[in-house]
Amino acid sequence: MNAVDKTGNLSRRGFLHVTALAGGGMLLGARFPLDGARGAFAATADAETALNAFIRLTPNGIATIMAQNPEIGQGVKTMLPMLIAEELDIPWSQVRVEQADFDATKYRGQMAGGSMATPMHYESMRRVGAAARAMLVEAAAKEWKTKPEKCTTEAGAVHFKNKSLSYGELASAAADIEPPSPRTVPLKDAKDFRIIGQEIPGVDNPEIVTGKPLFGIDVTVPGMKYAVFEKCRVHGGKVKSANLDAVKASPGVTDAFVVDSAAQAGSAGPSMFQVAPPNGIAIVGDSWWLINEARSKLEVTWDEGPTASQSTAAFDRRAEELSKQAPEQDLRNDGDAAGALASAAKTLEAAYQYPFLAHAPLEPQNTTAHFHDGGLEMWAPIQTPQFARGDLAKALGIPEDQITIHLTRMGGGFGRRLYWDYMLEAALIARQAGVPVKLVWNREDDTRFDYFRPGGYHYLQGGLDEAGNLTAWRDHFVSFGEGRRFAPSAEMMPNEFPQGFVPNFALQASKMPLGIPTGALRAPTSNAISFVVQSFIDELAAEAGKDPLQFRLDLLDSAPAGTRTAFDPKRMKAVLELVRDKSGWGKADLPEGTAQGVAFHFSHRGYFAEVVQATVSKEGELGVDRIWVAGDVGRQLVNPSNAVNQVQGAALDGLGQALDQEITFDGGRTNESNFHNFKLLRIDQAPPVEVHWVMSDNQPTGLGEPALPPVPPALCNAIFAVTGKRIRSLPISKHDLSWT
């Protein structure tokens, strides 16, 4: 790549950078602070030096757009390039998409998590495309000796009167144009969109349906060996001794050794996705299947450590004890909940609980690690490459810029691949083995050694006045953690609904110590809290003798003017009203044994209200007939095909969790191991999911997560409507649903 290198209109807020390509054409990079970046996201990269997008435009008229974010199935590899292509004004058929490697010097916000891609990039990616278009227009105007304002663009060409030049013809000349300021470059009006809002199929679909190697587990490196890693079944346990010689003599095994990262230089860093130092036995060899078989020959003496005393039954008992004691801490106190409960016309009490859950992405954890030329090269399915690299550098004691991470397509993430424990394992094994290795976990490893969605317990009290209005709400939340700190994803927002909508509100917490790793699962905290809150709201509606959907609408109207609430009640009311109308709520003539339940939840900036229709036989057999979803994620769906797919998948994910999923522990060990005892939803359990949208005039936001949380409570509320039985603990499969 040569010579001409221009940097346009420096502004404090961002700039563009153009380079002429040696073979003709232009390469445009851009760096911007990201829209909506905040908190941990804003703190992780240097906004003033990072380039966050690239367009490569070649004389054949093809625009190659780098997809910068990790693809976990959320559709971002298609969506972000759509934003650039729209403003570039080039037909999608002339766009090629390439996956970028992780590169903190070029890109920003290379992360899959928090449904953040749309809010972070919706505007900035469009500005990159618009700036490139402006440069092509200016190059054409120069050629024609006219003003850029007199030129138009359409379908990858610039037009002026009866003349036109294709982008391919202009690409080299455009490389000499000073890039405009991205902050002032005009963007299209939404009515002129040709790509945004179209149903664009996933860019990797042709490779997926023909079985091309796309995923981390498909990576092959010359000279590579396979590795497996046997860990103590008790979380946090360590190797004392093992019969390594016997294992080394097994077929296909070339090496076996203890990995104890406490003995390595450095230590795991303080990132928000911190992982524990690996400890276990690595087996390395020429065939993954053979070395995995060799694990059965291992005889290991483990130091099981303190977590061996922890179990699900002990957590249940301790939570019950804590519920009877004064809470450790107040998270929020509005009004006087105790007083209001004492004077309420009617009160209700209920204890709710939900289990630990695994992520169970279908592609087991894996990483290929290769130390060479003084550095470490990795191929990894990872949602958080920037966190991983920083922490890996510390843990391995090597400079961060000596670690290269190639981003592979991921066979699902759901939050599991926010944590990079398997990358550290692969790096430690490769370093000790002295060869490139591909570490692949088996399904049992993946199920047992997760960063689980934590379970939790809620001891609730609610009060109603004579008119059936909610006057008091108290939740004693028994969770996990120590001191003031909750275990990861075991916390609760102090402004969780119905805070702000009830005059007397108390949210209090107590905690139990936990040696089992926990972390974010799709719609973290919301995926559990929604079940509790929206189920208890339903109980209160029934106690008040009101329709459960109308009770919710009334409650959303009840915040006094000027109250600061966690979300906009008007937007939530709009989705509730839409799902009421679409589902035929209260009007449908349903047979005996069939009923609808409703719930709503706000998370990840998205507003979702959902109705589940379920049928329960008198013998207690449950069938889910249909799910209606109404969502509001702002004024624009970038890719409606993927939007609907995400929402349907999230709703069915919530259904699978509610029906039959739990992770339990005995003696500090995970009991579940594979899909026979950690049951994912199957096609014959999957009802149709109808998706409807409220197109409100708000910034577009993400869709990977927010459709999930309302499903478990809406289903449980439907079950109540049929059977009169309240489901106060998940999964539903543990309950007898028979009725008369």
Partner: protein, 170 residues
Amino acid sequence: MAIAFTLNGKSTTVDAPPEMPLLWVLRDELDLKGTKFGCGRSFCGACTVHVDGEPERSCRMPVSRAEGKEVTTIEGLSEDGAHPVQLAWQEIDVPQCGYCQAGQIMSASALLASNPAPTDDDIDEAMSGNICRCATYSRIRTAIHRAADIAQAPSATSHETATGAGGSEA
């Protein structure tokens, strides 16, 4: 031990332990990465291939059982990705993460080979051994119906759109 079978239409001989599952022979000995490892216990169907035309979970099938048989993987389902199921999968935009889809497509193509016009119930029965963790099940059903149409009338125009922008999808 040398084991000979026909793989995607070509005679193939591999030297592998006879009890090694076909999955690992395909992936690691023959470098065909399209067939996926999900659970290793035939619970999830990600490893589905055709053996003499029947869907088989290759993670539990010892390679010795392939001796003399015809094995077809996702790479050999069609020469150019133009099998009706592959076309329908793209048209309906089924995949999310895509990891299970090779197995889904192999199960779906085996279903259509024996039942050219399956009902939703037929689909649910034939496909219930294939887990999609992203739960693209609605589109899998739609795509199988669409593939049936393509197979019967290759020039047939598209079904009503599966994804209705701004509207609903059931």
